[in-house]
């Protein structure tokens, strides 16, 4: 009866992983996501890959946005995605990476399961419409 009144929201986790103390970008994207009507869980700084995996699983987010500027993306990002696969949630989670990713590393990250990479200067609307288009549950 009133079960038709569903209140679906896009849930996102904005994550900082590893030894990278720059969280300005993460804050800006968190706020933009909130203003777009998404629910945003912010991980806080210096998280290990398994803490990010724990948060994605428990919070059942549609989108994981990893912000990384330390240069360690080639080890940390695949470690997170492997953890998601272990819990069987990798397929259901849209994985985005933002920050400084050299062009030559892009293919490797995409091969590891990253859905999209947004470098510096990407307009916020682009990221938000990408999420809206690709989240389907």
């Amino acid at each position: 009866m009133s079960e038709t009144q569903t209140e679906r929201k896009i849930r996102t986790l904005v994550a900082k992983v590893g030894l990278d103390g720059h969280d300005r970008g993460a804050h800006v994207i968190s706020r933009a996501f909130r203003d777009a009507g998404f629910e945003v869980i912010y991980s806080g700084l210096h998280k290990a890959p398994d803490e990010i995996v724990q948060a994605v699983v428990q919070e059942d987010v549609d989108v994981l946005g990893i912000s990384i500027l330390s240069g360690a993306h080639k080890t940390l990002v695949p470690a997170v995605i492997e953890g998601l696969e272990e819990y069987g949630v990798a397929e259901d989670t849209l994985v985005l990476v933002g920050g400084i990713i050299p062009d030559e590393d892009r293919a490797a990250l995409e091969g590891a399961g990253v859905d999209a990479i947004f470098g510096p200067g990407t307009p916020m609307e682009e990221t938000i419409s990408y999420v809206r288009e690709h989240v389907d549950r």
Partner: protein, 326 residues
């Protein structure tokens, strides 16, 4: 992959699958179709999980305290569920759910299941969603569930009522005794926690709280609310707090209040569900009567009035009830 409503989801949840538990809570939060069947199934497997509510103003230290409590329970070999409710933006409907950041002591430990929920602006529905999510954690087998929410206000008070024991955090120097009176926090708390007790003004806050609590009408066997001083960041006073929780649980059991409170809660849940259902039926009656716009037009044209319309709409329902009783 099980669909949100399939019996497989309940089975996976009961077998200890964390992703299934998370998906069940999402189904509950979204009010997805079939969520009622899901909650019904969970009820059959729910047991006697201890539910503790933690509330207090923003920045009072709730999340930090929850982190320390979770660490303590884990050290005791218990499994823990946490539901942290944050407000949502009244403008965009979005929300930044930041309580998870404080979960430092138990980070990476999957036996602490931490779930952030936003208020989603739904009147009254939040407490039902929270209670249902607690049921999911209960059925999953969590020994203790902590429900954390920003106080105060009707929504929050309803949320913490889903708990057996309610702790209210009061920061030092958080205003005079009149502030405490008007916030309505005195009625809701079983345990009052003067957190950040290392700050100036803590003693005065304890005294003021004591005075206000002593002014209440209290019968012989009523619970005498405890006041505990803590410093959540370094764990000072945590043992006193746990001892107060335990004393309250003992009191609940001894006086029969535990079952009394649970009965009240079930009654409230039944009423909420029925209100939802009844208003769903009435929405259909409104559509049958030509829709809300047409009804409003009639009022505007002075042909009728809201009372007469309401009486007309509810009439078939009334007839049914009377026939049923007759």
């Amino acid at each position: 992959m099980s669909t949100p409503t399939s019996p497989q989801l309940v089975e996976d949840l009961l077998s200890g699958d964390h992703a299934a538990l998370a998906r069940a809570i999402t189904t509950i939060e979204n009010r997805s179709s079939g969520y009622r069947d899901l909650v019904s199934a969970l009820y059959r497997h729910a047991g006697d999980t201890v539910v503790i509510g933690i509330t207090g103003s923003p920045g009072a230290g709730k999340s930090t305290l929850v982190d320390k409590l979770a660490e303590y329970y884990r050290d005791e070999g218990m499994t823990v569920g946490v539901i942290a409710v944050d407000p949502s933006s009244p403008f965009s409907g979005g929300a930044v759910l930041g309580d998870r950041i404080r979960m430092a002591a138990t980070a990476g430990d999957m036996d602490v299941f931490f779930r952030s929920m936003s208020a989603r602006g739904n009147l009254g529905g939040l407490s039902t969603a929270t209670a249902d999510a607690v049921k999911a954690l209960d059925a999953f087998g969590k020994d203790v569930v902590l429900v954390e929410t920003v106080g105060a206000g009707q929504n929050e008070v309803d949320v913490v009522k889903t708990a057996d024991t309610v702790a209210v955090l009061v920061p030092p120097s958080s205003g005079d005794d009149v502030q405490m009176l008007k916030a309505g926090i005195l009625e809701i708390g079983d345990v009052f926690v003067v957190n950040k007790a290392d700050l100036a003004g803590a003693n005065k806050t304890v005294q003021e709280l004591r005075q206000m609590l002593d002014m209440r009408d209290r019968r012989e066997d009523d619970w005498d609310p405890r006041i505990v001083e803590t410093v959540a960041t370094d764990g000072t006073g945590l043992e006193d707090l746990l001892e107060a929780f335990e004393a309250h649980t003992t009191w609940l059991e001894r006086t029969g209040q535990l079952s009394e409170r649970r009965r009240e809660r079930y009654a409230a849940e039944i009423r909420t569900l029925l209100r939802d259902d009844a208003s769903g039926l009435l929405e259909r009656e409104i559509a049958n009567a030509g829709g809300m716009d047409a009804l409003v037009d009639a009022v505007e044209a002075n042909e009728t009035d809201p009372y007469a319309i309401a009486a007309d709409i509810v009439e078939p329902l009334e007839e049914c009830v009377e026939r049923h009783n007759g």
